[in-house]
Symmetry: C2
Subunit: 365 residues, 2 copies
């Protein structure tokens, strides 16, 4: 079977067309069976492809006149879906011309357009945004939701656990990822009713391809003790940004300290290999590529400020998810999950349409 | 007017009686008008006081037979309030024998006993736990709630803003602290209904001794752009722990990097003054002392693993809050806040007893 193509929104991001094309070309060398659809200003894409003959042969260009602005409201972006590079990239997945789309543009617009064009997978109430972070252990950790759903019920959290575990199996190679729910304590009485309910359902469930270990606190996310951290989009976004901000805070302090005296400057130069190692480990480009899990198609968000290496990693995520058929994996895992596990509880029993609709309304604000 | 005494639970914390007495003695040298009530095992307190003759003269000992265990359920701790060092320290505030109590023991038990013994201030629905964190700016930042209230409505958040600003005026010396609500975006449409409602109330309010600047994202907490970050206890706890965990993650990576080769070890030794500066800046002992704001009396939590310097900082917080009469300040600010600001909205109109009761029930779990 031939692999589906990857659509690249070449216009999104702070760095312009060249960084998107350079990045996609870099990823193509690691996944040379893939073909690409580059969406955006044809003249600029052609110019960027001049440096990459192999990529040029593997690519088709789809011209788009317009670009979704960084501060554009999702509701406006949706109305312009037929003319913007982001809209056309997503549409190529909807029409089956591509299996995945990647964009470095406006996250809210991407999510809203992705939900409307690709629709939520059968059996799922809501898609979620998943990201990867470095840890002190051997493997990275997957965290979701990172902001697609401000408020979530127990049923949503159980579904996120399923999706996160499927994703972690692909990116970490672990057969039964260790899954935990983010909470403000590890005792079973801690947190909200929905968290306790979700924990009970995951504890009771059998046959899942994961090891559910209960709750985890936010200071343990990066210790290498967990493969998937499940949370609602509000807490997930707070945790992710707090981690990013705190890492930047410490490295800013470190830079100030190292430039505070001649002696410390010399020490810095001597220990440069060490600090470069740290810089490499903390470089967000190495963990670029947030995935909207739970849609009929793969949709990946590259960070707006990612460099070519970062874009390559985001495209790499697309390729690996397609190679491993993530959508089919999630569907199989959902089928494995007894209907009882999803149906009981305060918000159980819904067929998902209601929730999905309100979720779309939220994204389209 | 003579200053109220400070009650010290000498038994809490991982480090034992001596670190509590050493720390309190250190704080007394900075606030030499204060007297102390040291609560716990009399023989061990007497032994610890032998090194501190001035502290001995300033202190009375109240013997307690029992100690609240670190993993003791708040409901059990409440039943033993008359015999434990923590219970007796709080009771001394309740009876007016002291103005403040500090403990390094079980946080849940301290909060639950504090609420029941000291009661929430008139006009307030719920107390909140506030902490201080370092920033890249000149001043530290106050954040609340850090976990006393898992779920909060708009009215709670407005009250937390008032309390946080009163606290920030004392610890930062700023007359009109910059206050923001923690959210997952800064646009007015972001977040939950309660967050948007609280933002509107604080924007509309007049005569408050604060500058309300809208929303803030979690990666900006430590940039020095805000003096008070207001949030519910769930998100606040997630943010605080994510920040702590991420700072530890980076410093762990740094230590690994610096010990990875002979060259980097030499560089580390040369730049030692710089890394010591960083270590000092990140030492949690420098920002020790979480405050339960909104009770009839000052109640401070010292970190369980704090050293004597950390305990001294927690006692220092007690002293400064008493010197500046925080309780009276909060009462005055609440009176300044129009009743309209608190009363409107979905959850307005309550007299607070209902909320306070459910909050106590939560703490006593």
């Amino acid at each position: 079977m031939s692999l589906p193509r990857i659509a690249v929104d070449a216009m999104g991001g702070d760095e312009g067309v060249r960084v998107m094309v350079d990045g996609a070309s870099m990823a193509r060398r690691r996944h040379d069976k893939f073909k690409f659809l580059l969406v955006g200003d044809e003249a600029r894409i052609k110019a960027a492809l001049e440096d990459h003959p192999a990529m040029r042969s593997a690519s088709e260009i789809l011209h788009a006149d317009e670009v979704v602005e960084g501060d554009e409201k999702p509701s406006r972006a949706i109305r312009r879906a037929k003319t913007t590079s982001m809209g056309l990239a997503i549409n190529a997945v909807k029409e089956g011309e591509c299996g995945a789309a990647v964009s470095a543009g406006n996250t809210g617009a991407l999510m809203a357009m992705g939900k409307i064009a690709l629709r939520t997978m059968p059996g799922l109430d809501r898609p979620a945004l998943a990201g990867i972070m470095p840890t002190l252990g051997e493997q990275d950790v997957v965290m979701l939701d990172l902001g697609a759903n401000t408020e979530c019920d127990a049923r949503n959290l159980v579904q996120f656990a399923i999706m996160g575990a499927a994703y972690a199996r692909i990116v970490t190679g672990t057969a039964t990822p260790r899954v935990r729910l983010l909470n403000i304590g590890t005792e079973s009485i801690k947190g909200t009713d929905d968290l306790r309910d979700a924990s009970q359902r995951l504890t009771d469930a059998t046959g899942l391809a994961m090891q559910f270990d209960g709750f985890i606190e936010a200071d343990k996310i990066n210790r290498g003790e967990v493969d998937v951290v499940v949370t609602d989009g509000f807490s997930g976004n707070i945790a992710l940004k707090a981690i990013e901000g705190s890492a930047r805070f410490v490295t800013d302090l470190l830079r100030d300290a190292f430039t505070s005296s001649l002696r410390s400057k010399i020490g810095f130069l001597v220990s440069r290999p060490a600090t470069e190692l740290l810089k490499h480990h903390l470089d967000p480009n190495n963990h670029n590529g947030g995935v909207f899990l739970g849609l009929n198609g793969v949709l990946v968000k590259s960070h707006g400020s990612a460099n070519a290496k970062g874009v390559a990693n985001a495209v790499d995520v697309c390729a690996r998810l397609l190679e491993n058929d993530i959508t089919q994996r999630i569907a199989a895992d959902l089928a494995e999950l007894g209907e009882d596990t999803l149906r009981h509880g305060a918000n159980g029993g819904a067929n998902g349409n209601g929730s999905a609709a309100s979720s779309e309304a939220e994204a389209a604000k």
